[in-house]
Assembly symmetry: C2
Homo-oligomer: 419 residues x 2
């Protein structure tokens, strides 16, 4: 089942098996969990010598295999890993150009540049086109000025923002001064690299207000925060300019003709996040089904008079709960493998038909698989009765951590309408 | 909706609203949560002057109304409350006779006698008739000797056992010495009051081995423990002897003719636990639906071009998630009210037809309602998107705490077969 990336997954398991101090305990405060999660990530990269960043673009199948293994250690770690390499790192590689890659690749790779992906706003989740954060070009200083116009536009749920992030890819409306009566022109949502904390002192930079989103149902190893910008100035070069750029004299240039096409191209580059989530969700499903089936084989209850009790897996009601789920797990394994292949091909060829296919397939599989896994985690807990409720048996953390897979990277209800 | 018990529920809410030190914080360790939960219970009874014990038998509707209100403060508190009054206290009142009531009523009522309900064993959950703990009568000393014959017979998940309990109602096979070739006679499962900790020093009593069941997915304010008995001697009077008794010279007496009838009568008295769970589950559903519907009305996302975004409750997909659930909540409210009425009538009349009806109705409603609530808690979280995932919005703790309602007091899959 692990296919050709078995070796690197084993290497990750070996590293964590030999690092008991990096194991997440059953009880841990949010603050400690966040620090442990960072130590796990640093350990993986700096001691475990796993360097996944190059694979984000060059070998996505390998990247997702690493991500699955990392997520099986602690889903918080898997998400923090994904925020760093796929969201923050991926946005630099996929939405930026060579100058960005040259400047940021090593820092992202070796975790000196921990970063965030600041898209969602307090009042704007699914409706990305309705984002209100503004990046106004100042032709005099050759800078963009990032502003949060109202409370609803505060960047919210931003992973790595509350404590650890140094940078953020901020999605904002690009506004250019014009000489007509309106005075400005809104070019739509673009992505900008915004330094949020001082590289040396780690203090928030001027104009950056950072708050903590606090406890979540799960994933408390990830430090989600809120970012508010007050006239934050960044160089023009910090615009991730693959699909649209601004010249020194404030002219907008793009190879794509309309705001909608540019927006679609930008979001299209982020489809890897959905591919990764579908893939990781199947990984979590595998863990849960394995635990539930094994326990059901060993647990005995009731039986014929005067004879030993029978395995609960011998009951049809238990089989009906677990066997179709087990079969679906195999099916989803192969379906997401197929999706990863198509996605890898797309990253190489940029074939337009393939882009459309991967968009539809990833939207459909991400929503279907994550909803299925979420329901299955509950079914597994229930099928294992009281012992399924013991925290040590993992169904609780798996469910709490995985729950939001149904919402982030595209709410399942919304995504299903794109299939 | 609150009906005639609104007043006592308001009194409970007022008490906790005016006791901020008794509020459960978002982050709390298991150890602290257990102590807080005990303080909440002591506060409710000793400062809040809520004395629910008499209502367990005299006015079940009032008892369940108190229980619902208490559970809405913290479900752990609701369960600890139920362990004390309904399970431990209820077993003394319903399975014992006047001598037990006289001896234990006040201590249970005022919480001096915190107690446990020790039925489930590590290897015996649903199959109560397969319990292996043994209570052997010793005619010389006029005592029962309680023994745990093997690891699988250790009493497991026993609420109040890990830290706070002084007594336990222990379910064990009553074994009498005989003069035939077998030497002993197994009279089936009976209930015994076993002191487990010293009333003054709070140390475990001789022969009582207590272990901690550790962290659970939820309900970590309840101290579930494991009890092992090594030749623990208790007076003959500690047999809860309403349905079967042992004379001074070791003869078994009962008004019921067979082991099966006595077992059915014993378990029949415990049906109140299921009635209470169905009732509490609806209470939790009410909280979740209220949060989800209110948020959906206020949250806006997408909308017609150039116009304000629309309330997400205006979307059919959101209505389909929440409106049938809201309607079901009303239906379950009235259904469980009806069940409580029937149960109250049964406790008064002991009418045999009514006993059968309440058994079937409580088995069906407990399983149907708790499964529905469990699924709905997930649906509510999902319908509220990212903000539904914030711990402060309660869906996480409600789901984690409520989850086991589907398993304890009769696994839903097993219960449904009794309808």
């Amino acid at each position: 089942m692990r296919g050709k990336h078995r070796e690197i997954q084993e290497k990750i398991f070996d590293f964590f098996n030999s690092s008991p101090d990096l194991q997440t305990p059953t009880e841990i405060s949010m603050k400690e969990h966040r620090e442990l999660c960072l130590r796990q990530l640093l350990g993986l990269v700096r001691e475990g010598k796993i360097k996944p960043f190059r694979y984000v673009v060059e070998d996505p199948a390998k990247y997702f295999a690493i991500s699955e293994a990392v997520g099986s250690i602690d889903i918080s770690l898997g998400i923090k890993f994904g925020v760093q390499y796929s969201l923050w790192g991926g946005s630099v590689l996929n939405l930026g150009t060579k100058k960005h890659r040259d400047k940021y690749f090593d820092g992202i790779d070796n975790l000196d540049y921990l970063g965030c992906f600041a898209m969602t706003e307090l009042h704007h989740g699914s409706n990305v086109q309705g984002l209100q954060t503004v990046a106004t070009f100042d032709p005099i200083t050759d800078e963009f000025i990032i502003d949060t116009p109202n409370d609803g536009a505060i960047k919210w749920w931003i992973g790595n923002a509350a404590v650890h992030g140094k940078f953020a890819t901020v999605f904002a409306r690009l506004v250019l001064p014009t000489h007509d009566s309106k005075g400005v022109s809104d070019m739509g949502v673009h992505a900008f690299i915004v330094p949020i904390r001082d590289l040396k002192t780690h203090q928030p930079l001027p104009g950056i207000e950072i708050n903590d989103c606090g406890h979540k149902i799960g994933l408390n190893g990830v430090d989600n925060g809120a970012l508010r910008f007050r006239s934050v100035r960044i160089p023009r070069d910090n615009l991730l300019n693959r699909f649209g750029d601004v010249t020194r004299d404030g002219k907008y240039t793009s190879s794509l003709p309309t705001i909608n096409k540019r927006f679609a191209a930008t979001l299209g580059e982020l489809v890897g996040g959905r591919v990764g989530l579908a893939h990781s969700s199947v990984g979590i499903l595998k863990i849960a089904v394995t635990i539930a089936v094994r326990y059901s084989l060993l647990r005995q209850q009731f039986g014929p008079p005067k004879q030993p009790e029978v395995s609960i897996l011998d009951y049809q009601s238990q089989q009906h709960k677990l066997m179709p789920m087990l079969a679906s797990t195999y099916a989803f394994h192969f379906a997401t493998q197929y999706l990863v292949e198509k996605y890898s091909e797309m990253k190489k060829t940029h074939d337009e038909q393939l882009v459309g296919d991967v968009h539809a397939l990833s939207a459909g599989l991400k929503s279907y698989v994550t909803s299925f896994t979420a329901k299955s985690l509950s079914t597994c807990r229930e099928a294992c009765g009281g012992h399924g409720y013991a925290a040590v048996n993992r169904f609780g953390t798996l469910r709490n951590d995985h729950d939001i897979f149904q919402t982030f990277e595209g709410d399942n209800t919304v995504l299903l309408q794109q299939v």
